[in-house]
């Protein structure tokens, strides 16, 4: 549990704290389903502290994220995370790479908040004491310590998303993948998540339709029909994306 990062102790947001990022490499990856290519010969590497991914619905953005943690196996090509194959060493990759899904209801597994945070820790073999500490620290970190004993179905959408994120962060990953994190949130909670994301020391790869969320990212990638079509600074790629979506 030595990786339990303190509340951004002096580290600038997304500064790539030593140890809190990974090198993710797609080598000529294609994912073909029912004759359709969800990803088409994608070769790209990610190592920046913040990477945004934009694209129309069905362009392959979610598939890309799922490939990183081995939820989808490429039809051809390989995905490596710090040298580990995402499919063959999925377990090790998932230990250091978290994924926050769009709908927190589909990600929260236990009826009570503290139990759900413990779920991830138990799966990765933490001891009972470490689990107790991890749950407390995980909730504290996002300012939701008060929700520990609450029942999930009593929480608001914004609270559920924070609980889901706390669960992902509890195992101290180096990278967190976000799949349209604000899609189900109202404005107030969207702002809250934006603040949390801004202060996150871990490396973050964020798929989002909410372009303002990605505005200060060092790098944004645009995906279209399973291919990377633009790759550059947030300013240029987002401007391009806005233009293309007119």
């Amino acid at each position: 549990m030595s990786d339990m990062s303190p509340e951004s102790a002096g580290s600038a947001p997304g500064s790539g704290d030593a140890g809190l990022s990974q090198t993710i490499v797609f080598s000529d990856v294609s994912v073909v389903r029912d004759g359709r290519a969800a990803l088409d010969r994608v070769s790209i590497g990610f190592e920046e502290p913040r990477i945004g991914i934009v694209g129309l619905n069905g362009s392959g953005k979610s598939t890309l994220l799922k490939c990183i943690v081995g939820l989808v196996a490429p039809t051809t090509g390989t995905v490596g995370v710090d040298g580990r194959d995402a499919v063959r060493e999925a377990r090790a990759v998932r230990r250091t790479t978290g994924l926050l899904f769009q709908n927190p209801d589909n990600q929260i597994v236990m009826p009570i908040v503290a139990e759900d945070l413990a779920f991830g820790l138990k799966n990765h073999g933490f001891s009972k004491a470490e689990i107790a500490d991890g749950v407390a620290a995980g909730l504290d970190r996002l300012g939701i310590a008060g929700l520990a004993g609450r029942r999930i179905h009593e929480l608001s959408g914004g609270e559920k998303q924070l609980v889901a994120l706390a669960g992902v962060l509890a195992i101290s990953p180096k990278t967190v993948l976000f799949d349209e994190p604000t899609a189900h949130l109202d404005l107030k909670n969207r702002n809250r998540l934006r603040d949390v994301l801004h202060a996150l020391p871990e490396q973050a790869i964020v798929v989002s339709h909410d372009l303002d969320l990605l505005a200060d990212f060092p790098r944004v990638v645009m995906i279209e029909a399973g291919r990377v079509v633009r790759d550059g600074s947030a300013a240029e790629v987002l401007a391009n994306y806005r233009e293309a979506s007119r």
Binding site: A38, L71, V72, R91, F101, Q107, V109, P111, N123, I171
Partner: protein, 218 residues
């Protein structure tokens, strides 16, 4: 919905081990089965009622809890009286009533957590024989508990939306969207469970597939 039927309290039954209570209930129920004397059954019923009361529940509370079973009992008693004879009806009603009260006493004093533990111990031999995976089974049951309130609410919302449009009571219009939503959710949920590292490694080598991977699997 996750709240069980157990009531908090400190009665002697509360303090008795769950396994003991369950075994005792099973033995008592089986024994009563072979008793045909209505006087003995009446005594058993009185003892059962006393036990139910000893848990701290009032007569009113017991009555409320056993409303459903009492109704079933009344119907069956009448059926027996009409189709067989009064003596049989009496025996049946007394026996079932006594058993229902005993079961109530156990349920009211045993928490879901305690019952879980007993189930776990009961299934341990099956697990050692490789017939059952306790972690997967436990997760499945807990997941069901976790999702009942959410799905119940979604069902309610669908019904309200229907009523607002003036279509009441179409079973299809309720069940189809509900099930479709559930099936789509099942796929995302499975991904989330996998992504969070389930299942935990077992001490011995684990050759079961941990993920649902097929090339290009969604």
């Amino acid at each position: 919905m996750i709240a069980g039927l157990a009531r908090p309290g400190t009665s002697p039954l509360h303090r008795t081990a769950a396994g003991t209570k369950l075994a005792a209930l099973a033995i008592a129920a089986t024994t009563l089965f072979f008793v045909d004397d209505s006087r003995l059954l009446a005594v058993a019923g009185a003892v059962a009622l006393a036990l139910a009361r000893s848990t701290g529940a009032s007569f009113a509370e017991i009555g409320r809890d056993l409303k459903g079973p009492a109704l079933v009992l009344a119907v069956l008693g009448l059926a027996d009286w009409w189709l067989v004879d009064g003596a049989t009806a009496l025996v049946v009603v007394l026996r079932l009533g006594a058993i229902a009260l005993l079961a109530h006493a156990v349920t009211a004093t045993t928490t879901t957590a305690e019952l879980s533990e007993v189930l776990e111990r009961l299934f341990a031999p099956a697990e050692r024989l490789g017939l059952l995976d306790a972690a997967r089974a436990a997760l499945t049951v807990t997941l069901a508990m976790r999702f009942v309130p959410l799905i119940a609410e979604e069902a309610r919302e669908i019904r309200e939306a229907q009523a607002a449009r003036g279509l009441q009571g179409s079973v299809l219009a309720l069940a189809v969207p509900l099930l479709v939503k559930v099936l789509v959710r099942a796929q995302d949920l499975a991904d989330a469970i996998d992504a969070r590292g389930f299942p935990p490694d077992r001490p011995t080598s684990d050759t079961e597939p941990k993920t649902n991977l097929r090339p290009g699997s969604p």
